[in-house]
Amino acid sequence: MSTATHDKVLVYTTPTCVYCKNVKAYLEEKNIAYEAIDVLADPAKAQEMIDKSDQMGVPVTDFKGTIIVGFDKSRLDAAVSAA
């Protein structure tokens, strides 16, 4: 799943989601700068996440246009390698 490519890494999260923390920890371990977006605080961003990922679960990572749902380490590894 992908959207238009760009050079940012965005992570859509909620405060109660442990796998959101796992994604952020993974990116920090790889020294990858990212923007964390709290979809509870920003309904417009929640809709943006739904539009990008075609579903409502978190976390959703927009890795420079590649959409990854959940803490999917193999897809995250692939996105990091391809970047």
Partner: protein
């Protein structure tokens, strides 16, 4: 080609052994494979690691049902902690043993376990296979489904089984919660302040959870309860837009315009992949003895997937430790 696990010449339990299949493929043989990364599985893996055994932990996630819990007030050491925070503590503890524990997060689950001459082969949903001398099954439970139209189609597009996880995505929206027991009541109370309104669709004549929770639900201004009612189907376009509900007393069907459906009708053991391999009881739980051994020698089980009488986070952790201790004793006593 089936992998043949040759007995080691020198049994050094702390090393991941490699075996050659045919002339080409070399695969690792672990001391133990733990299936499931909830509290039972993570505890088992840690106990095995502390015995300096090489462990492969297979799971879809690290957390299991504990990660779906809102407020946990009965885990020793924590007067009150969220499931999220408690799971993070579990994960951090597990990752201290990164040398001994190989973690494989799998997307497609486990297909089967088969017994080999000196161990077991675990086949994953992606077709890959892993080998070990012993196995600990800690696959937990999964939400029970309603089996109605739209339930699968709209999964994660308005249909969810975890209010704690997904409640924030329904801020200021109308939702239905299907169920009438404690999990449905807990779900309603956990998302009450987030949502616009909640309709509880309960199949029995009255709610049947704890009285304290029922009182809170009945007192809430934005929660209404439809008793003797069943969800017939879920509809929508890209996301959920409505649920059809039948009143079983009047036979009347009503379409409720909602943005989300939380299904809270209980859970079932995650044991489908074990059918025909280990003994399961009438509830499809893995039958274990006092050593946490299943009906297959060398296969242990722990936590909610077993016939242990109580299903609690702290019980699962305790069962995981028992299974691991017994597993390590069994491995040490092997010829």
């Amino acid at each position: 080609m089936e992998a043949v696990i040759e007995p080691p010449v020198t049994a050094q339990a702390s090393q991941v052994q490699e075996i050659t299949v045919g002339d080409e493929e070399t695969i690792a043989v672990y001391d133990a494979i733990v299936i499931g990364g909830g509290p039972a599985g993570m505890t088992a893996a840690i106990y095995l690691a502390r015995k300096q055994l090489k462990v492969l932990l297979l799971s879809k996630d690290l957390g299991g049902q504990a990660a779906w819990s809102s407020d946990v007030e009965n885990y020793l050491g924590f007067s009150m902690i969220t499931g999220t925070e408690l799971t993070k503590h579990f994960q951090d503890h597990l990752m201290k043993f990164h040398d001994e524990i190989t973690l494989k997060l799998m997307r497609d689950g486990v297909n089967s376990i088969t017994k080999q001459p000196t161990g077991f082969t675990v086949e994953l949903g992606d077709g890959s296979r892993e080998q070990a001398k012993a196995v600990i099954i800690a696959s937990g439970k999964i939400p029970k489904q309603l089996g109605i139209d739209g339930e699968t189609e709209f999964l994660n597009r308005g249909v969810t089984y975890c209010a704690w996880c997904d409640g924030p995505l329904f801020k200021n929206k109308s939702v239905v919660i299907v169920g009438g027991g404690n999990s449905a009541l807990d779900a309603a109370l956990s998302i009450e302040r987030l949502t616009k309104d909640i309709t509880i669709v309960n199949s029995t004549d009255s709610l049947n959870g704890d009285e304290v929770m029922i009182e809170k639900v009945m007192a809430a201004h934005t929660i209404r309860v439809l008793n003797h009612s069943q969800a017939l189907s879920i509809s929508g376009d890209k996301v959920v837009r409505g649920v059809t509900v039948r009143d079983s007393q009047t036979g009347t069907d009503t379409e409720l315009a909602v943005d989300g459906v939380f299904i809270e009708v209980g859970s079932v053991p995650s044991s489908t992949f074990l059918q025909g391999f280990v003994e399961l009881n009438e509830l499809h739980e893995v039958v274990i003895d006092k050593r946490n051994m299943t009906s297959v020698e060398g296969v242990f089980a722990a936590g909610d997937v077993t016939d242990v009488s109580e299903k609690q986070i702290i019980v699962a952790a305790g069962e995981g430790s028992k299974a691991a201790i017994q597993c390590s004793k069994w491995l040490a006593g092997r010829p």
